[in-house]
Subunit: 171 residues, 2 copies
């Protein structure tokens, strides 16, 4: 098992999809890259989905992550946006699987607990801790981007623990 | 405008995804092909999504439809399966868009009304009318398959009407 891992985190959405790549090991995380993909709501759904997929595929090609981490989408989410969220997540998951990259899924509370120690932390606290953990206090990034980085950090922490428990992969 | 259209209908789902292709014009529909794609629930989500996409892409390549019709997914659906339904629909829509094929979306009640005259018809009535409209009384096909055919027939009927109203495409 390599001690350093690279993870791409996806905060899925059609209007805004956060993409964050980090590298490290439990307790140590370094920022590799961050992005937010936007698709206009007046574009046909198929083109919006392909835009998300292309962006994720480009980031996978550029950053060569070991694993993709994505937020588990619940139907209890905002019903107005949950379909777009689920469909954007599907495109990201498919983009990873197409390239043989394992996919890990974390709940929002797992992510919050991993970066703040508290499963019900608010967005600003998550963003604050992401900047602190990555040693990038001046990082200018919207919440979708810091949420994607939080997912990637969560996978870096938890994935390693799961690795030790179950021999055989990160997903 | 060509008088005859070919439509691929998708009844999206991860466990079972119905695919039905019909050809015709309002009032006249002919069966081209029908299929149900199944993916086992113990397969990783990414592989299930790719299996659905590959099946839809294969049917598009084989049947060369003018338009893909898919059911609008509501968050009011069964919450246990709605995420898989939305994600399977995303793969079908992306498969069509990738090939430049327009995508049309219909609500369940639009589909039922188109084939039975009643927006709240039950599944067996939809299946009965699909067989009658396609002149295939002995067609052996599960409900996912007849639902996909009903969607395609709905698009054949309604799409033509929308064409006359709005010059410029079927989606």
């Amino acid at each position: 098992m390599r001690s350093t891992r690279r993870v791409i985190g996806i905060d899925p959405g059609l209007t805004r999809c956060g993409i964050g790549v980090v590298e490290g090991r439990p307790g140590v995380a370094r920022l590799v890259g961050v992005d937010v993909v936007r698709t206009p709501s007046d574009l046909p759904l198929g083109e919006r989905l392909l835009t998300v997929e292309t962006a994720v595929a480009d980031w996978i090609a550029r950053s060569r992550p070991d694993v993709l981490a994505v937020e588990r989408v619940f139907s209890q989410h905002n019903v107005r946006t949950v379909m777009g969220t689920a469909q954007a997540a599907a495109m990201a998951i498919a983009a990873a699987s197409r390239r043989g990259i394992p996919v890990a899924v974390h709940t929002p509370s797992e992510v919050k607990a991993a970066v703040t120690g508290h499963g019900r932390a608010d967005k600003s606290q998550v963003a604050f801790m992401v900047r602190r953990l990555l040693c990038t206090p001046g990082l200018v990034a919207p919440p979708d981007a810091t949420d994607a980085l939080a997912l990637a950090i969560c996978q870096l922490w938890r994935g390693a623990a799961l690795d030790r428990l179950a021999v055989g992969g990160w997903s």
